[in-house]
Amino acid sequence: MAESQQPETALDQEFETIDLNINIGPQHPATHGVFRMVLTVDGEVVVDVTPHIGYMHRGAEKLSESLDYRQAIGFQDRTDYLGGFNCELCYVQAVEKLAGLEPPERAEYIRVILAEFNRITSHFMFLGAFGTDLGVFGTAFTYAFREREYIQDLFEEVSGDRLMYAYFRPGGVAWDVPSNFKERVRWLTKQARVGADDMDKLLTDNEIFIARTRGVGVLSVEDAIDYGVTGPILRASGMDYDLRKKEPYSIYDRFDFDAPVGTNGDSYDRYLVRLEEVRQSLRIIDQAIEQMPDEGPILPERLPRALRPAAGEVYMRCENPRGEYGIYLVSRGGTQPYRLRIRGASFCNLSALRQMTIGHYIADAVTILGSIDIVLCEVDR
């Protein structure tokens, strides 16, 4: 057992304590899924964290190698089930780069609008879960899910499913959006702004919320880069890097929006960055819905029945709600991907957990884990 560090207060001089191992295991409300971390604790201060992952490793990469390029789209939704459209967008663009397909204008706009809406639902899920981690038990979740239900209705009208869409195709989207799509989107952006303001009023100026998140789990920019942390956590640490702006993919270069950047990289900044990103996504959707052509093809005319991209490899990366989501696709000319490597954003963000948690209390370990906003299927794939 590791001895506790040098005691300071008068009471500490006489007593030496032995560190306790607390197992916050796979089935725990704070771990947002099946993640296990063993906290070595001296009194209440966390001395060491040993994360254990792999409880949700179900082989999406191996199974994609035995499926057609279009059939593997289903696994992309299930890898990051809170940002299904973003993952599909990344995979579909990877296949387009290899196969040399060009999606038509209207399909690009539909994709961007749905991907940004999916970012909003994912951030609302974070706000609800983060509130629950900090003791706002029911309220934050019910606010968050009220917004998610509205937006999931739109997803259902467009793609037929609330969570697993499988709607994007290499070269465009599977079928056209319903006729009232534009009105629905305009109504939803208004409703989402009301939801974002409610969540803002509920949590941002709450003293207990600030007391428990300000200065907790600080991650400096150098450590964030060294661990490969990306997305809202990297921006909260002060690094202005958003793939949609720095390496614009799809048609993101046609919209003007700004990526919110935090200052001191603690849990409170991560919360503020994600809340601001909801509003920025709404700005993107407003511009996209104005510029979207009313009718036009949604798939290229001559689309080969059996997609057989040329031999080669590509590492396509997109800005997912959790960070940089990368698809490393190797094709050797067959109808099935030869190797599909999914670089989950939560996988790399989680590797910095130990760095952030040591020195805090046990309750802060839960806050830090909540602020990283992990999705276990993306961590273990």
Binding site: I53, G54, H57, G59, E61, K62, L63, S66, K97, L98, I225, D226, Y227, G228, V229, M239, Y241, K246, A311, G312, E313, V314, Y315, M316, R317, E324, G326, Y328, V330, R332, G333, G334, T335, Q336, Y338, R339, R341, R343, F347, C348, S351, D380
Partner: protein, 225 residues
Amino acid sequence: MSPEDRRREQDAPIVPPEPGTIADLFAAALPDLAITPNQGALDVILIVGRDDVPRLLEAAKTDPNLAFDFLRNLSGVDYEAEGIDVVYHLHSYRHGHDVTVKARLPADDLHIKTASTLWRGADWHEREARDMFGVIFDGHPNLVPLLLPDDMDDHFPLRKDNPLAPLEEWQGTALGANVGEAGHIPAGSGFEVEKVEAAPETAETAPEAAETTPEAVEATPEAKE
């Protein structure tokens, strides 16, 4: 010809990138290193021998005008008999350029030096590559299973020779005979369905299946080696 043959002989052609890309910066920084650049779909790919990788990664991280401080992704690709590729995707926040570094490991000697001393993010990527392909990263501080259970360090699921189970059959037998059935009904719960003996006509069509005893099964795996 079956898909395997078509797949095996068609490999990605090496297309030298046009001048002025990252490959020239690397050539300038490491003139004596044998690098064959290749223009991938998005970024430049540098194919390097296994022993030059540590020097190349060291230079990529420390050299001021390369400054690759972000290891995007480290993954393995199994080319069966030809060996296993270890692929590094790097990005530089300062200059904003990207590069992919590839190294081929022979199938019988899967060792390469670790990159976790340069980027701490590489730690988990390397442990996952070891789990999935069996690539040993020398000098890695804590190379224990990450995605597999702690006592399973000789099973590499992502290798091409590890088959996918076609259906429930193979899965069931691996867990023991009685587990193969789906939804077994708890005994004594009053819902059992009495077992009817197999009807005669199915019996003689599979005589050799019926009388295979565990010892016979015991023998067959060795016999196949």
